[in-house]
């Protein structure tokens, strides 16, 4: 069995937070929408604090122009080589710039968000505290749509 299949099997039956309903935001047409990336790869600039192992509920705001980002997620159980070769495979910021340039999307958000994916099982801090704080920062920047990229 492949390593990825082993991980998918391990994760398939993990307890997850329960959500009884599905919230629904209606975005403007894509050609007018400001788009942000929200990733759980734990990306950060070298001048920002590192993520500190398992259970770090904090997030980093990444500026639109940042490229030399470090992959701060702590797990050893996913391929990291692709990110080192091409950050867009995790953080497709150059693709968004191209889509903004050709008018497919309205614009690229001035700031993007990175959390670390290895969270406590309850995820309550992200749900109630740091998640809403990050969302408020994106809203303040006029973000309409977020693409969420996990690792």
């Amino acid at each position: 069995m492949s390593s990825d299949q082993t991980m998918r099997d391990l994760m398939a039956n993990l307890p997850v937070p329960e959500f009884e309903s599905t919230p629904w935001a209606s975005p403007p047409p894509l050609a007018q929408a400001t788009v942000a990336i929200v990733t759980s790869a734990g990306l950060h600039r070298a001048d920002q604090d590192r993520f500190v192992g398992r259970g770090d509920v904090s997030y980093r705001m990444l500026d639109r122009g940042d490229r030399e980002l470090i992959l701060g997620h702590w797990s050893s159980n996913f391929d990291r080589a692709a990110y080192v070769s091409d950050h867009n495979v995790v953080y497709p910021i150059d693709r968004l710039e191209e889509l903004a340039a050709d008018g497919t999307i309205g614009g690229v958000a001035p700031r993007h968000v990175a959390f670390a994916g290895n969270q406590p099982d309850t995820v309550s801090e992200v749900r109630l505290d740091t998640g809403p704080a990050a969302a408020a920062e994106l809203r303040a920047d006029g973000v309409d749509v977020a693409i969420l990229t996990p690792v």
Binding site: L10, W24, A25, V38, N88, V89
Partner: protein, 227 residues
């Protein structure tokens, strides 16, 4: 990611999750999910392939047209990992008086330095810098030789961060040395653990630490699941 989708939608931001774990997404009532069966760590599927990445993004943006949710769509193309070791030459034995892993790591330093210069950053640095790689391998060799980890590391065992730094040092050197397109998922991992002295040392040291009853939470992630 699925929790953040809920949080962002409640704040008025429309989301699409490029999910990598379908059963998790299924159970969480996430507004819009594009399930992408790609290797873990590659949510856009393929590095150095802008066309493929654009197709994935286009499929994700299509979900914004749905009038109501939850919406869960499978991306039609599957990308599988390729777990045969990367073809990457290792330096010849140079100094017979030091451990093979230390000798090997020193031989890769020039390639690592070139990689950092080209990319402008490095994943090494959680616990040690590149200068600390030979010493970190020497410490692992001491554990393998029978010294107790508390004598080697003191009260705070940091081998999880050290193993990340060692793997990253080798990974960046290997990507610099290997020819051709970006390797398939886990090819660099396979190369490191199956072909390099450092990878073998890390795996054996993990077993030695386990035998010394080192804290499980630290040693579990030193080596990927299944190795």
């Amino acid at each position: 990611m699925c929790v953040l989708a809920h949080v962002l939608e409640e704040a008025g931001i429309a989301t699409v999750v490029l999910a990598s774990m379908r059963p998790v997404a299924e159970r969480m009532n996430v507004p819009r999910v594009l399930y992408c069966e790609f290797p873990l760590g590659r949510p856009l599927g393929m590095p150095d392939n802008a066309a493929f990445q654009h197709e994935v993004l286009s499929a994700a943006f299509d979900l914004l047209e749905a009038p109501e949710g939850p919406v869960l769509v499978d991306y039609p193309e599957i990308v599988e990992a390729f777990e045969t070791p990367l073809a990457c030459a290792l330096p010849p034995r140079y100094d017979p008086d030091i451990a093979p892993s230390v000798d090997e790591a020193q031989g890769l330093r020039a390639a690592y330095d070139r990689a950092v210069a080209r990319r402008g950053t490095t994943e090494v640095g959680r616990s040690i810098s590149a200068d600390g790689v030979p010493g970190a391998l020497t410490d692992l060799e001491r554990v393998i030789a029978g010294e107790h980890w508390k004598e080697v590391y003191g009260p705070r065992l940091d081998t999880l961060a050290i193993s990340h730094d060692l793997r990253s040092y080798y990974q960046e050197a290997a990507l610099e040395l290997a020819e051709g397109p970006a390797p398939g998922a886990r090819q660099v991992e396979a190369w490191f653990f199956e072909e390099t002295e450092a990878g073998k040392t890390l795996a054996v040291a993990r077993d030695a630490l386990k035998d010394q009853d080192a804290p499980d939470g630290i040693i579990f992630y030193m080596v990927p699941v299944g190795r």
